[in-house]
Amino acid sequence: MADLKCTIAGIESINPFWLASAPPTDKYINVVRAFEAGWGGVVWKTLGEDPPVVNVSSRYGAHKTGNRDIIGINNIELISDRPLETNLAEIRQIRKEWPDRIIIGSMMAVIEEKVWKDLAVKIAASGVHGIELNLGCPHGMCERGMGSAIGQVPEMVEKVTRWVKEVVDVPVFTKLTPNITNILWSAEAAQAGGADAVSLINTVNSIVSVDLDQMAPNPVVDGKGSHGGYCGLAVKPIALNMVAEISRNDETRDLEISAIGGIETWRDAAEFIALGAEGLQVCTAAMIYGFRIVDDMIAGLSGWMDEKGYKSISESCGMAVPNTVDWNALNMNFDTKAFIDPESCIECGRCHIACEDTAHQAIEFAVAEDGSRSFTVVDEECVGCNLCFHVCPVPDCIEMRPVENDKPYVTWPEHPLNAMKAAE
């Protein structure tokens, strides 16, 4: 069986599955239950200076599909609302009880050197394996000059990373916010400040839905709502891209990544690892299903690695990075066409109407005399956009078949129709 041990920022973990800093890692009982369930580590719920913050009641909103599945939640919770020493005592206790599991202490503070340094030293003294700097919280805390208020300014990202690095011996993870225009600016800043790794993403600023009776955004707190942090399955594509950007950028490619954002299954985990993540963090999936979901994350990931012949996480790490390129590096001569298998087609017509109304009128619809319906791709019209392939409800019924055209690999900059190229 493949080895799921992983090393990130020099910290060795029995598996790459850590719980992200959030309610699942809020206190002793949760973390012990998580370790019993098999999680390799936790990033403790973000700690701040005393006195602790006070939370409101009514804290989460949810974004659901028609099938009632939650695809994302948003929250307006703040950082840990318990005294610092209570948290640190619990961390010390669990470190004793669970010597093989990782605990990272997460922290945030206002932009004052002494405050950052004092807090970091106190947390490090509790025996944590590392410290994560929460520069991401996009609601509440940012109104007090913390969280994303810091994470959105690269100079400040660099500064706080450096302050903490100066006073602690343990590795430092700088946790990045996705609520910026270019993730590379903050990643480079963290690197310049000396971060041992970056963790990303924190939550995406959002209004998850509007309560049309109360006429207020959800979650509604006594008739009013606020924007909150969006996370879960729906943010995975955003996180994947940001992780890939850091992995394939010349300046940041050596930065280690603890990937976060919508990891719900072993497949999600494998995708982040393929894009260069050394470690993983999960929050929403655990909040929705409980800690037991780690079972299949572990079993599925090692099964996949066995099947593909990867012996360790580090072997599969970054395998998709070389194939993640700018649009300008794609082959303009590649041609793929939809093919409908009449045997498995159930005649729902979804492909036809999608292509007919919104794409390229490339799927012909005919009704035979016996009333049976047939859907056929017109090769000349099909541009290979994949729309029908995605809307078809029957797995493997529509196949996208590459056309063998013996044409060379030609990118847009080299393409004859490119006006810039012609001007050369």
Binding site: I346, E347, C348, R350, I353, P393
Partner: protein, 458 residues
Amino acid sequence: MSLKPCNAVNGVSLPKEAIDSNFSDLHDPLSALQAKGEADRCLYCYDAPCIQACPTSIDIPTFIHQIRTGNIEGSAKTILSANIMGGTCARACPTEVLCEQACVLNASEEQPVEIGALQRTAVDHLMAAHGPHPFKRAAETGKRIAVVGAGPAGLSCAHRAAMLGHNVTIYEAKAKPGGLNEYGLAAYKMVDDFAQKEVAFLLGIGGIEIKYHQRLRCAQGAPQGDAQEDTVSLDELRDTFDVVYIGVGLGSTNALQLEGEDKDGILDAVDFIEDLRQASEKSSIVVGDDVIVIGAGNTAIDAAVQAKRLGANTVTLVYRRGEENMSATDWEVNLARTNGVNIRLWSAPTAIKGNGRVEAMSFESMTVSDGKLIGSGKSFDLPADMVLKAIGQKLDASMLDGFEMSGGKITVGDNFETSIAGVFAGGDCIKSGDDLTVQAVEDGKQAAHAIDAYLAAK
């Protein structure tokens, strides 16, 4: 969808509570959660096959999509705009041979979307809200239409004609409206007086008056019928109204043509069901210990199942051909079997035995030779103290002199007009599709549009 079991104790008459439970809803309506889950299965097909398989062409993907988006009232309007009796059809349609048979999920999951159950969810929601009638009438045209028969064909025509701005007067022979919705459909399909509730809802459109105890009679015929009944002739109606529409259904049944058919205990299945439907206490209906049902259609099935649910000791449905020849659907045949009805195939009745009251029936075993059904010469007897005849209904043509008829039904053209100018017809009394509620509703709707065009051209 699970069926409620039949309480039956062989040889002991059933207590009232067991009978009441036997005549509660055959399947409970879907809960909101079940409806949501079922609606989520629908693929929202384009030019969906299920629409084509619905005789009234309800836009099924749209109404299911509306359940999914939480627009249940809009969903009901989508249904009712194509089929004003969507509530009864949701309960009574043999969906297994209509919309659900055409559902594409049969191919991928061998389990169609439960279209009928979802339709009931939506329509019941709208009807239970008792809001204003969902459709508006067009400006009054001043035209007057006489509709004969307040069954699905007549009521559907009346509703659509009223919506198009015409004024409608319905002449109904019986004391209540609804036709076989009220008197014929199985009791466990139409619980809680649904037929009457639906008619009241339908009349909410306005512009429709129903006259009860009004029987259409033949032109020359002397007024017949019972004491409280008035009669009216076609000529009288044609004199008073711009158009007449006939929706009288099939008033009569076929006979076994055996000696002794008038013995006590031998009944038409439709009469047995009508008495059952009208009884406020189902346990007041007397059922035999050993019941024989002759026939193979849904009336035979309904009669057999209801006899069993009333507590009959044995119920044997006897049919002269094989199961594949039965006009009842597989689902209906299974319903009979799971209710404990014995099915004897390839057996034709030859004699009725008994002294004043039926005591047994004789049957001859049948076989097919050269494509022809012939007796095998072997015979057997079955004991019976009740025999329910369900070998087909036919049009009572006595009132229909002057009409061109074909195959025992009124001949109509594409626009539902009969051979008599300005007289239209629809429902079981014409040959359109199968004799089903949903087909009668469609006939009435289409006839109303044809009448509207006829009046506009006049």
